[in-house]
């Protein structure tokens, strides 16, 4: 398969995937995926349920390692380093590649302790440093003004949208370079969704963001590049505008125009 890259590829490649196959025990979930994800851009992964887009996302921070019986074949390089090489430090990888989950998962701790969780694990002990990181991360995710007076209250008391932004702030607190988002707004109401999308827009300048979404309007709104997955295969990858207006493949066209999905 020819490697799918963007045609006028001025952006530097952050993640380079070549010939990736992925299996859950005997079931193959990804087939020969090759893609170059550009740095400091938002790349959307779209496709019908079960097409492998979430599986693909989770190969990028080796989150699938936690599922017994998974197997892969092929290469994934981030900043030209093979992340499945035996010498790879998975802890360092996951620090560099943050993840936000579909269902927001704040820890049953205070807002402060949620954000400080990552930095503490990576060795930051000084209270003043932690406070600084917490403020910066919450500010970055647009949550600071809403929660600054109740940092030590339980994070579970926040609204759904706030919880998801808290999770984004928590991911930012360990200073990642890449953010993986697995349908981050699918469980949120439209207003909260708008806030998440605005946040993604703001974060784009500093992070390489990959977002899985079911919502094609969302992909169109937030992403610069879009990859269309179908039945475990990468069908088409390109600039979002082109992919939506002039798709190269019939399949893509059918999907983005809503003929199936």
């Amino acid at each position: 398969m020819v490697k799918m890259t963007t045609e006028n590829n001025k952006a530097k490649t952050k993640i380079s995937v070549t010939n990736l196959d992925f299996y859950y025990s005997a079931v193959q979930a990804l087939f020969d995926i090759s893609i170059d994800v550009p740095a400091k851009q938002v790349t959307a992964l779209i496709g019908p349920s079960g097409c492998g887009k979430s599986t693909f996302l989770r190969t990028l921070n080796r989150m699938n390692d936690t599922i017994p019986g998974t197997k892969y074949d092929g290469k994934i390089r981030i900043d030209d380093k093979d992340i499945y090489a035996p010498s790879t430090d998975v802890v360092a990888l996951r620090k560099k590649v943050g993840m936000v989950f579909q269902k927001s998962n704040p820890f049953p701790k205070s807002i402060f302790d949620n954000i400080a969780y990552g930095p503490r694990i990576h060795g930051t002990k000084k209270q003043s440093e932690l406070s600084e990181i917490v403020e910066k991360s919450l500010d970055r995710s647009g949550l600071w003004n809403e929660v600054k007076d109740r940092l030590h209250k339980s994070a579970l008391k926040l609204s759904g949208g706030q919880q998801q932004r808290l999770c984004i702030a928590r991911a930012l607190a360990v200073d990642p370079e890449i953010l993986l988002m697995d349908e981050p707004a699918s469980a949120l109401d439209p207003q909260a969704t708008v806030k998440i999308e605005e946040l993604i827009e703001e974060l784009r300048a500093d992070y390489t963001i990959i977002i899985v979404t079911h919502n094609m309007q969302q992909a169109a709104r937030v992403s610069g590049f879009t990859a269309f997955f179908y039945e475990g295969k990468l069908v088409e990858f390109g600039e979002t505008e082109k992919l939506f207006t002039k798709p190269q493949k019939k399949h893509t066209e059918d999907y983005v125009t809503g003929r199936f999905g």
């Binding site: 969780y117 990552g118 694990i121 579970l156 928590r170």
Partner: protein, 283 residues
């Protein structure tokens, strides 16, 4: 029409059997309280037995039971909790794990006298602890390990997988994740389940009969290698071994009441702990 009436009969039968269970429990409790309450006195609770238990109190047996329960907790809780963490967090599902689980379930079904014999062979004789608090605690610990492991695993399972993933995704190691983001939420449940198991162990007679219990020893133990009097065994002795069983009937009921109150007290502690932590962690 016919369906409706059979519905009624089934309902009535179910209700009747449920009430029957309550009736049995109520009868036991009322009988023991009714006959035992008169025996309870400061002397009964704080004095050593005299004349093979016909007079005096049961203080050494109360203390002996407390020592055994404490020893059992200290041994069984860390062992059981660690096994549960291993089984539910680390062990990959497969043949070995299944065998381990099967072994634990089997262990739970082993009669308690067999545990007593095992304790006698291993702790009392082979390891040469003698008939002692240590040997008795270890034997009781073996007896309640399955309960602790099963209830601890259950408590670990109530922690949503998403919290583990969230922690791992931040670059935490597996142990950091367990230690900081799983155990804090599951320990209350683990402790509650374990204490309920320990309450049962406190009333066991067979395992300690062969490993820890003294027939008549009106003084307190000095070390973990000493024998002790314990409530369930003392009760057994009073009820069957005493030369004049009917004469010491009130002492039997008094001992039974104290044992009952102790077990209820242990269970109450478990319930209070659970209530306290339930308010703290909700998701």
């Amino acid at each position: 029409m016919k369906n409706k009436s059979s519905e009624k009969y089934v309902y009535a039968a179910m209700r009747f059997t449920t009430y029957l269970v309550i009736l049995v429990i109520a009868y036991i409790i009322i009988d023991i309280v009714w006959n035992g309450i008169g025996t309870l006195s400061v002397e009964f609770l704080t004095a050593a037995p005299k004349k093979s238990g016909a007079e005096g109190g049961i203080f050494p047996a109360i203390i002996g039971t407390l020592y055994l329960v404490t020893g059992t907790i200290c041994i069984a809780l860390p062992l059981g909790m660690s096994s549960a963490v291993y089984l539910s967090e680390y062990a990959s599902p497969g043949r070995l794990t299944n065998i381990i689980r099967l072994a634990i379930i089997t262990l739970a079904g082993v009669p308690s006298i067999v545990f007593g014999l095992f304790g006698l062979g291993l702790f009392v004789i082979f390891l040469n602890f003698g008939t002692s608090i240590l040997a008795g605690s270890m034997t009781l610990a073996c007896l309640i390990l399955p309960t602790i492991i099963v209830s601890s695993e259950e408590a670990l399972r109530t922690v949503p997988q998403s919290l583990r993933e969230g922690s791992l995704a931040l670059g935490a190691t597996k142990w950091q994740t367990i230690y900081k983001n799983v155990l804090p939420y599951s320990i209350p449940g683990m402790i509650t389940g374990s204490i309920l198991g320990i309450g049962r162990a406190a009333g066991e007679t067979a395992p300690i009969l062969l490993t820890a219990a003294a027939f008549f020893l009106p003084k307190l133990p000095n070390s973990v290698f000493d024998q002790v009097m314990v409530l369930p065994y003392h009760l057994y002795v009073l009820a069957t071994q005493h030369p004049d069983v009917t004469k010491v009937r009130p002492m039997q009921y008094g001992t039974a009441l104290v044992l009952l109150l102790m077990v209820l007290g242990i269970n109450l502690v478990a319930i209070l702990i659970r209530g306290h932590f339930r308010k703290r962690y909700r998701w």
